[in-house]
């Protein structure tokens, strides 16, 4: 896909760094997002920043962009200490950031989007629309792209939106250009175009930072690579002196043995069969089986389409073709009630948004999924609700003063338990959990793990979506890996190594 050989670093790259971060830290309350972030960008260089989800890359970028303020550590630009209080300051210093999701004004024209806030003006202070348009056209010419400058940005492809972001950076005459996973949503041709633009910007002496999960792109485009892990700097290496294997080792290199006590359980018959599930543009040809007593881990990077598959299987979203069979019988498409009635449960990713009614009590929330079973003569009886929820609250060790407490006031870990309890109360045969331990503390985490393990022992079939590699490797009997909407790897517990899984999740053409 990317044919051009990696270019050698230009001579200018050997000089003092243009932008340098040293031992930068950032915490949000008790959560430490960045323990020790370091980065040095040079003029005329394209620098790659890689790491697993949650490694702290985005936090680092947001500090550079002026969106977050660092707690400690050094930040210099062109040798001078800087301290950005806002995005406007960072921008004024010549730093442009292109986010994964372009942030444009959909109602305004392409030209206005490029120059918003710093439009060229006439002598009387009015906006000089003609000059503004001419400059946009000249930037597009230089980039070799054809985008109608007068149209609104609503409806533009992600690729074109990114080009507009780049045009913005050029019009700013940015010295530092940061691209946060710019290729995630691009086709091969569009990636080529973007890379050509990036190379020409580098040759003009600008410093570029390229964040990506795709190793082939990193090797094709960048001259230097910095690896981060768990909020900390690991290593910076010239691209010519490293390999994909070495980088993967640096990204995952941690001990996974003692965590996550998966209890052995007897694996029985197939309960859930998914075959050829396809939703155009989202996921393609997804097939897998789930057996009673088994935990299957679904690994992959954020945006690989895992949650979307789960939602389609459960019936929240529709799919275009393929089938889902539960206990040998086909499940109707897009019918959550049927799925629930037949014993399927989904604990969604964002529990605050999708799993809980935050301003209602623990009891109410637990009873939510089994309302019909609890109700009698069409009415919901509080005593029955309380009895049902008490059983699960006790079993899950939900820490709350009373079952009447509003769920929104509980800690993240306890909220997650309530969501679990809500679905477990419906006594499912198949449980799909999406990122079950995201954002909860270590203690609760292992409780959730022990619970999942117990449920499997009791004969439940569990599909666990997780972006945390150690969790997947520790808990799963079998690991499925998705990348860009397809299943790109399947490993038995014994053969699932961090390197194998990471490779399938990131590399082009990995063995399926």
């Amino acid at each position: 896909m990317v044919a051009a050989p990696p270019d050698p670093p230009s001579p200018a790259a050997s000089a003092a760094p243009l932008l340098e971060l040293t031992d930068v830290t950032k915490a949000f309350g008790a959560v430490v997002a960045l323990r020790s972030g370091s980065l040095a960008l040079h003029r005329g260089s394209i620098h790659a920043l890689i790491g697993e989800n949650g490694a702290g890359k985005s936090t680092l970028v947001k500090i550079i962009a002026g969106l977050y303020q660092r707690d400690s550590g050094g930040f210099t630009l062109d040798g001078e200490e800087v301290d950005f209080g806002s995005t406007a300051q960072s921008k004024a210093s010549g730093i442009a950031v292109i986010y994964q999701e372009p942030t444009l004004f959909p109602d305004l024209s392409v030209v206005e989007n490029i120059f918003m806030g710093r439009q060229p003006t006439t002598r009387t202070g009015g906006i000089d629309r003609r000059a503004m348009r001419a400059e946009a056209v000249s930037i597009f010419d230089r980039l070799g792209v054809r985008i109608d400058p007068d149209r609104v940005t609503d409806g533009l492809s992600i690729a074109d939106q990114q080009i507009i972001e780049i045009a913005k950076a050029i019009s700013l005459d940015a010295r530092v250009l940061i691209m946060d996973e710019p290729t995630a949503a691009l086709s091969g041709v569009e990636v080529e175009r973007l890379f050509a633009v990036a190379r020409s910007l580098r040759d003009e002496g600008r410093a570029l930072l390229f964040i990506s999960h795709r190793f082939d792109e990193v090797f094709a485009l960048c001259d230097t690579v910095t690896v981060m892990r768990d909020g900390a700097y690991i290593a910076t290496t010239p691209i010519a002196e490293t390999t994909v294997d070495a980088l993967v080792r640096q990204m995952v290199g941690r001990d996974v043995t003692d965590l996550f006590p998966k209890l052995p359980s007897e694996i029985r018959d197939v309960v859930l069969e998914v075959e050829g599930l396809t939703r155009t543009g989202v996921f393609r040809d997804i097939s897998f089986q789930l057996r009673a007593g088994e935990i299957v881990g679904l690994a992959g990077l954020v945006g690989a389409g895992r949650s979307e598959v789960a939602r389609a299987v459960f019936g929240v979203d529709r799919y275009d073709s393929g089938s889902v069979r539960l206990g040998g019988r086909t499940l109707p498409r897009g019918d959550v009630r049927a799925a629930t009635a037949r014993g399927l449960a989904l604990v969604p990713e964002d529990r605050r948004k999708q799993g809980l009614v935050l301003d209602q009590s623990v009891t109410r929330n637990t009873a939510l999924a089994i309302r019909s079973r609890l109700s009698k003569w069409g009415l919901l009886w509080e005593a029955r609700e309380t009895a049902a929820s008490r059983e699960w609250a006790t079993r899950l060790e939900v820490k709350t003063n009373s079952l009447d407490t509003e769920v929104g006031t509980l800690s993240g870990g306890n909220q997650q338990k309530v969501v679990l309890g809500k679905w477990l109360a419906s006594d499912p045969r198949v449980l799909i959990v999406d990122e079950p331990t995201r954002g909860i503390d270590v203690g609760t985490k292992s409780e959730v793990h022990r619970l999942l393990s117990q449920l499997a022992q009791e004969g439940m079939a569990i599909l666990m979506i997780s972006s945390e590699l150690p969790e997947v490797l520790g808990m799963a009997d079998r690991v499925l890996v998705m990348r860009e909407g397809r299943i790109t790897g399947e490993f038995e517990r014994s053969e699932a190594t961090p390197e194998n899984v990471m490779m399938a999740a990131t590399a082009e053409g990995a063995a399926a």
Binding site: L104, F105, P106, E112, I127, D154, L156
Partner: protein, 330 residues
């Protein structure tokens, strides 16, 4: 060619045609609707006051906010106008205008500050200030009222007089409209109002001064309402504590009918102005065309819903077309 296309497809053109249609229909039914001294004057005079308020409202809505307190501001400043003429004999009219505009601006500043700093939705804040301002008005006015005889004759003339066949009031409204349109179209800060309404999060990432701009929008809305309050006194002469009651909804209705999107980022003050004319003209035209009084409110409501549905349909169609074009290019 391009200009012709823009004019032809503009949302404002459609609404202007609707207005002309209503006027023509009413005139056919009763020629005096336009072709009589009073008819012509009423046609222009009545909507001109609402136009001022609707322009301010449009500026606020463009930033994805709303100002429900404008009717109460009109009431307060109208009463202030009367009080000034009574309590300060010989006060020049220009000073009264400034005082009304200033009071309106201050009330708008209160709204803006609460919205911009307290981060509470404008709907809630201005619903609150709508009642508070009206409450102050009632406490201040009591059962008192300003009568036409309390106001200087020259000042009254401003509200009803004409020059070259056009009411002064309409000319004032037109001047304000042109300035507002020019500001929104050509000044950086004007364009930033659109950007903020189109995507507040993106505006933040762009480093635009979001707080200051929102503050400005509310001050403009308040000042224009204050201005309208002064002219209200000049036009009607009589001011009780219910002056401007319900104007906030008419102003919002005018903006929406004129194509200003409640979700912010789109629409023009021209549209809001035409919307104000259509809204009030339809009210006067319906009885003439022979539609029962009882139906007037329902017709206005249907108009508002129709305008919103139309905008939605057009937006969806535009979005689909843009995406289809994109697919074709692949």
């Amino acid at each position: 060619m391009r200009l012709a296309k823009t004019l032809f497809t503009a949302r404002e053109t459609g609404i202007l045609l609707a207005l002309i249609l209503v006027i023509v229909a009413a005139t056919v039914a009763n020629p005096s609707f336009v072709f009589s001294g009073d008819g012509w004057r009423d046609l222009l005079l009545t909507p001109s006051l609402l136009l001022l308020v609707a322009v301010g409202q449009a500026v606020v809505i463009i930033t994805r906010n709303v100002d429900l307190s404008v009717g109460s501001v009109v009431g307060l400043t109208a009463y202030l106008t009367g009080r000034l003429f009574i309590d300060v004999p010989g006060i020049p009219a220009i000073a009264v205008f400034l005082a009304g505009g200033l009071l309106g601006a201050v009330l708008g500043l209160v709204n803006g500050a609460l919205v911009a700093y307290a981060k509470v939705p404008a709907l809630v804040i201005t619903l609150g200030t709508m009642y508070v301002y009206r409450g102050i008005n009632i406490a201040w006015t009591g059962s008192d009222r300003i009568n036409a005889s309390d106001l200087p004759k020259d000042f009254r003339g401003l509200g009803t007089g004409m020059i070259l066949g056009l009411p002064y009031l309409t000319l004032i409204a037109l001047a304000v409209l042109i300035i507002a349109a020019w500001y929104l179209h050509t000044r950086r800060s004007g364009r930033e109002l659109y950007a903020i309404g189109s995507d507040p999060a993106a505006a933040h990432l762009y480093g635009l001064p979001v707080t200051r701009r929102i503050l400005t929008a509310f001050v403009v809305s308040g000042a224009l309402s204050g201005f309208a309050g002064v002219l209200f006194a000049a036009r009607y002469g009589t001011v009780a504590s219910n002056a401007g009651y319900g104007w906030e909804l008419q102003a919002i209705g005018a903006a929406v009918i004129g194509g200003v999107a409640m979700a912010g980022g789109a629409g023009t003050v021209w549209g809001a102005a035409v919307g104000a004319f259509l809204l009030l003209t339809i009210n006067r035209a319906l009885p003439i065309i022979g539609i029962d009084d009882f139906w007037q409110q329902a017709v206005v409501g249907a108009l508002i819903i129709g305008a919103i549905v139309l905008d939605r349909v057009l937006a969806v169609r535009r979005h689909r077309k843009l995406i289809a074009e994109r697919e074709d290019h692949r």
